[in-house]
Symmetry: C2
Subunit: 204 residues, 2 copies
DNA sequence: GTCTATAGCCAGATAGAC
DNA sequence: GTCTATCTGGCTATAGAC
């Protein structure tokens, strides 16, 4: 649990830089189109050196996914400490953060279908542990929000959870941003509205 | 405009079979993971023969996209002829059809980011023409539904349009189906509800 | 651990006989 | 037009010197 020697700290800093690059490239191009050469060039080291830190391209992506889950967990923790917020409020703020990350090009998007990558992620204990913790907290809020009448009681909580995860990788915000007509904050507000209130909008 | 000779009809039939295979493989694996060898094996011809019909892998995918737009246009045409349906009703039924295709594994999913593929699609006059026609009809319905108060007037029509297109490629239905707990019809109803009425549900 | 150089592989595309 | 066999390029991963 200690930070180890100065030498180990240097290594840690370099690995953080690698993961940050992978995170951005993954958000920009996706797993398949991202090449290890690009990552090495972006970090500024030789490709062979990358493989001293991470065993494979899949391991690189997995590290980036662990990192984004860690940041998600931190956002979730902050929301859980907010006083006077309903469960639905907390869910919406977590979703807002995810959309902001997405628009900033910081949300890695994985292909749902790449088998080698899925296998690596399903074998990664850190990833699974984090995913479970985040999902459990979100699940509690979903059930509570349904009890409060702020999330549709007819929907299975797992559908709500999957939908929130899916909106964090949605192509719509990027397409709208590419149009160039609207600012990030406006886009986030609109997409949040379509997510929680639907295309039909609030009719209360 | 004629169907041409018997020989040409045979060619047409074969090309239809190729495009049908590409459509399914594209839906199943996506553009990057789909290989031309798989397509050839699925159709039952040699890879070199494929290249006599289509100049590249991108051209194969483009043909499949034209085909799905043609089917979409037909669904849109049928909805436009429905008597006593509101614009919102028509939009919802088109979305329902798209979700059914998606769950049936017949909705090709393209990576939003592959540049060679985007270039090929943007250069395909058939594709662009169809996309424009479909988008114009849907756009009219969106504006009408906003006037009727059935689609949120605060949302730009283009956001509504992009959102509908995005939901036709959404990963949520497949994930829910993979869970095995729910039938296709139930999944379609729920996802349609989250799309139009939001996670919060109707509150009128 | 970092580098240069290269091995090994796979997939898109083509040559050339029939 | 269809086939078998092959070329070509790019990408992951590794060898081996320093």
């Amino acid at each position: 649990m200690s930070k180890g020697s100065f030498r180990q700290q240097m290594l840690q800093v370099r690995e953080d830089a690698i993961v940050a690059s992978v995170n951005r490239l993954l958000a920009e191009k996706g797993f398949d189109m991202m090449t290890v050469d690009e990552v090495a060039a972006d970090v500024g080291i030789a490709k062979a050196s990358l493989y001293k830190h991470f065993a494979s391209k899949e391991a690189l992506a997995a590290a980036a996914m662990v990192r984004v889950l860690q940041r998600t967990q931190e956002v979730v923790r902050l929301q859980s400490q907010r006083a006077g917020a309903s469960a639905a409020d907390r869910l919406r703020e977590v979703a807002r953060w995810a959309l902001q990350e997405l628009l900033a090009g910081e949300m890695p998007t994985l292909p749902a279908q790449n088998s080698t990558l899925r296998a690596e992620l399903m074998a990664d204990k850190d990833y699974l542990e984090l995913l479970m913790q985040v999902s459990e907290q979100l699940g509690e809020w979903i059930v509570q929000a349904q009890a409060d009448g702020q999330i549709d009681r007819a929907l299975p909580p797992e559908l709500v959870l999957y939908t929130l995860y899916a909106r964090a990788c949605d192509p719509v915000p990027a397409v709208l941003k590419a149009g160039g007509q609207y600012g990030d904050a406006q886009i986030v507000d609109w997409v949040l509205a379509t997510c929680f209130d639907g295309l039909a909008g609030r009719r209360a």
